[in-house]
Amino acid sequence: MITDAELVRRCLAGESDAWRGLLERYADLVHALLRRSGLDESSAEDAFQEVALLLWKHLRRLRDVERLASWVGTTTRRIAWRSRHRTRTREGHESAARRADVQAEADRGATVEEEQALREALGHLGARCRELLSLLYFQSSEDSYEEVARKLSMPRGSLGPTRARCLEALRQELLLRGVGTEVSDPAVPASLQAGASRPPKDDDEA
């Protein structure tokens, strides 16, 4: 995994690919924070460019920061707040305020670092794992295990072990990004221990 600090150092060395990598890494987070803050599409687009410009200007200062998520989150929220403050109409104000309330409720202590780590970790899982975790945990439909197995064209008996492998892979990816907790449980099968996990590939028979 290329760390943020490495990408920043490569940007400063003149590598445009590293700049693209940084933007792509944080684009979804910034976009989400801006939209959640109540900005409309057009204002959010302007604010996005403003965040990118500030990131560009502050690269030198951020060169030794291992994880940029906190800086990106704080900067994005500040810019969103300023943008709302500049442009909001009464209606917009109320709408934004409502969304902000919903947001505060949804956050429940989750940090922007955790959110970014989860985005990156999910991005590093295979498509099949992502789909499985999505169906089991991230969708509100709450399908039964039978239904999930059917949607994934997977024997029902394979669902549990596959789910465990995918969750372990997710845990490893999160740990790499500084989020998580070491699970020290003697009941954890050896195959699920750190370094031994293997998320199922897309063509795995589940």
């Binding site: 693209r20 460019q49 549990g160 989020v179 099968p189």
Partner: protein, 201 residues
């Protein structure tokens, strides 16, 4: 009821966070983390990704920040300056190499014709996504995107007697060549009369 019962706290914590199992007996911090991740995951799932266009636009902000101003590439090889005919070539084409410590620009300057002067070449060591802009002695500019492999190609107006190349990223010039003639001295002036030079008093 879980389809299998591996007593793995991490798995059970996720099951509990999603309402698929009981949280009884789970370490509190693990349960709380899984709950936050499930809430975050559900939110991420519902949100649309950032439009690619926004990212592409922000990419244009890039310019090598360690360089102050444009780098001047030096002419290190010129087929017209060599007495070896194999290098000079039989035609009136000119091959030049311009470089500094990190970057290189190779160009082949075609023979002037009614259609103009073709210039094609490659750039290496300069930021990708660049544009090459030729500025002629008659103050005309022609630009060409640097394609995959650093390749560029452009055609100068037929009346261009000399030109220099700028390599630009976004609006910023990151490298510049010295002026290059399109004709050797023994070919005489271009067919289109050059603009009269301003006299110094």
């Amino acid at each position: 009821m879980s389809p299998v019962a591996p007593d793995v706290p991490w798995v059970r914590a996720f099951d509990a966070a999603a309402g698929r199992a009981s949280a009884a007996g789970l370490p509190a911090d693990l349960g709380a983390l899984a709950s936050r991740l499930v809430v975050l995951g559900r939110r991420i799932e519902q949100e649309s990704p950032c439009p690619t266009r926004w990212v592409r636009k922000a990419e244009a902000l890039f310019a090598p920040p360690t360089r102050i101003g444009a780098r001047l590439l030096a002419l290190v090889l010129d087929s017209w300056a060599t007495p070896v005919s194999a290098v000079r070539g039989a035609s009136g084409r000119r091959y030049v190499r311009l470089a500094d410590e990190d970057a290189r620009l190779d160009a082949e300057i075609g023979e002037p014709s009614g259609a103009g002067v073709q210039v094609r070449g490659t750039v290496e060591g300069l930021a990708s996504g660049a544009t090459v802009v030729a500025c002629t002695d008659r103050r005309k500019t022609v630009r060409a995107a640097v394609r995959e492999g650093g390749v560029f190609e452009l055609v100068l107006p037929a009346d261009a007697a000399s030109f220099h190349l700028d390599v630009r990223v976004g609006r910023r010039t990151v490298a510049r060549t010295p002026a290059l003639a399109t004709r050797s001295a023994d070919e005489g002036p271009p067919t289109v009369p050059a603009r009269p030079r301003r006299r110094t008093p």
